[in-house]
């Protein structure tokens, strides 16, 4: 098991009138190579949750285990932060160096790596996010497009060679091309590099296609945990807590109500289309 949370409780400003319980008895574990989608309405505790996974926050009660070691006792939060990379919203705001390669290398410099090792690593992580090393290394990050800047920021986190990458809405604010590039990148990192990915997203269409497992947070609790097919079949429950299903699920549900016998758990354009065509053909014949 890569990361485990056991009976974790967390409260902001405990013992004050403004105390807010943000996580309530959370149990969660993620294995190497999983692609987990984390969804939940705003204020459900998603950010608090992921900050527990990389040691930025310490649980008020309960424990966090990373590779089986208790955080704070058997493994330091400092080391955990290197193993579990966290990419915040709008990570491009954190770029500051004069060139792309210097920005990506910043963490490695701090670790005291040798120059030639750094260069090798920077080259490989830029290529992991789909940016050509020679073309981008000397450019100022501030002359890049939004999508490119964001990929440079992700490369900076990848440079630390994390076993798990957590991203908070990595596609938000990007146009359709930038979005597709980032998401394709994450998919590749997961499949080819066996990198564990935890993705926070409010885009049900996007997450239904990417994640192998969905975790739904609501009011600080894990409400559902399962495959997208299983979770999105709970349409009414999701809507009740402020979420939604992918557009295609809404369509399939409406078709079923209208008397067309289609399966409800399809998320890809082609499979939805094929299902509709086959049911229309059956009906026509």
């Amino acid at each position: 098991m890569l990361i485990e949370l056991k009976n974790v409780n967390f409260t902001y400003m405990p013992n004050t009138p403004l105390a807010q319980r943000a996580l309530k008895n959370v149990n969660f574990s993620v294995e190497v190579g999983e692609f987990v989608g984390l969804i939940g309405p705003t204020g459900s505790g998603k950010s608090t949750f992921v900050q527990h996974l990389n040691g930025l926050l310490k649980p008020l009660e309960g424990e966090v285990l990373v590779e089986g070691k208790r955080m704070g006792e058997e493994i330091s939060p400092f080391l955990v932060r290197r193993k579990v990379g966290l990419v915040f919203q709008f990570p491009e705001n954190q770029l500051f160096e004069e060139t792309v390669s210097r920005d990506v290398a910043f963490g490695l410099h701090n670790l005291g790596w040798a120059e030639d090792e750094i260069e090798k690593r920077v080259r490989s992580v830029l290529e992991m996010v789909g940016l050509d090393y020679c073309k981008f290394k000397d450019r100022s990050p501030f002359t890049l497009s939004g999508g490119e800047m964001r990929r440079v920021a992700i490369a900076g986190v990848l440079a630390m060679n994390p076993s798990c990458l957590i991203l908070d809405e990595p596609a938000s604010g990007l146009d359709s091309i930038g979005k597709r590039e980032i998401l394709a990148n994450l998919e590749r990192l997961n499949k080819e590099n066996n990198l564990t990915i935890i993705l926070i997203s409010h885009d049900m269409d996007e997450i239904s296609r990417l994640a192998g497992r969905l975790v739904v947070l609501n009011e600080g609790r894990i409400e559902f945990d399962g495959s997208p097919r299983k979770v999105f079949s709970l349409r009414d429950d999701l809507i009740k807590i402020g979420l939604d299903t992918p557009e295609f699920t809404s369509l399939l549900v409406a078709l079923k109500k209208g008397g067309l016998d289609v399966p409800l758990d399809l998320f890809e354009l082609n499979e939805v289309k094929d299902a509709i065509v086959s049911v229309l053909k059956r009906r026509g014949s």
Partner: protein, 274 residues
Amino acid sequence: MIEISNLTHIYKQANREIVALDDVSFDIEEGKFIVFVGRNGSGKSTLAKHLNGLIVPTKGTVKVDGLGTDVEENLWKVRQRVGMIFQNPDNQIVATIVEEDVAFGPENLGVPREEIRKRIDEALENVHMLEYARFEPHLLSGGQKQKVAIAGVLAMKPKYLILDEPTSMLDPRGRKEVMDTLRKLNNEQGMTVVLITHRSEEAIYADQVVAMNHGNIVFEAPPRDFFAEKKLLEELGVDLPPISLLGWELKKDGYDIPTVLSAEELAGILCLLN
């Protein structure tokens, strides 16, 4: 009316010039709901910043109800009329208590005290955040903060509301609430709404959808006609709503499907097919 005439905007960066807007002319009529789409760098956000005089034209003019944004003395009046909401609420919240943040605008306008109280409650009610009036903004989630930022602008009772990707950080319910709020403000109070978004499904509520590319307005039409231009939109980097795409695919297979914008609409058509 906001009149944009031959507007050119050039950003100077070190020794480079970037033409963000290239001779754009467009009128935003009162009471309309206009949506701007286009890829990153197409000039949408630069155009938005011109609408309340946050930046001044390199060439050309922008006039709000006849007031030119290039005249310093007009800016106060222009900004009273044109409220602006950006993507990231953290950059827009100034006070340490939600209701004080909402009061900030009207206080600066010299609105009387009782009236301010009324406006705060109305504005927070509009975005469903009244119960958070006494909260500290930093304790709110991103989506909740964005709704506070919108309330802050609504409390100034602007005539025109400009929003630059206001829903990109919100959850599905938050997005729906913001979109419902915008439609209500537009329908019931006649507020002019200009929305910049990457979400095609938000454009379906507009009177007019405008596509930008390389600093120019390249195409504009009501939503149904707009999303009928699949090939053009692909070239412009604008996604079709997934349901419209599915409609296209079915049409390619020989089914008689017009341009559809929503799941309910497509379901209705398919159930009647035989």
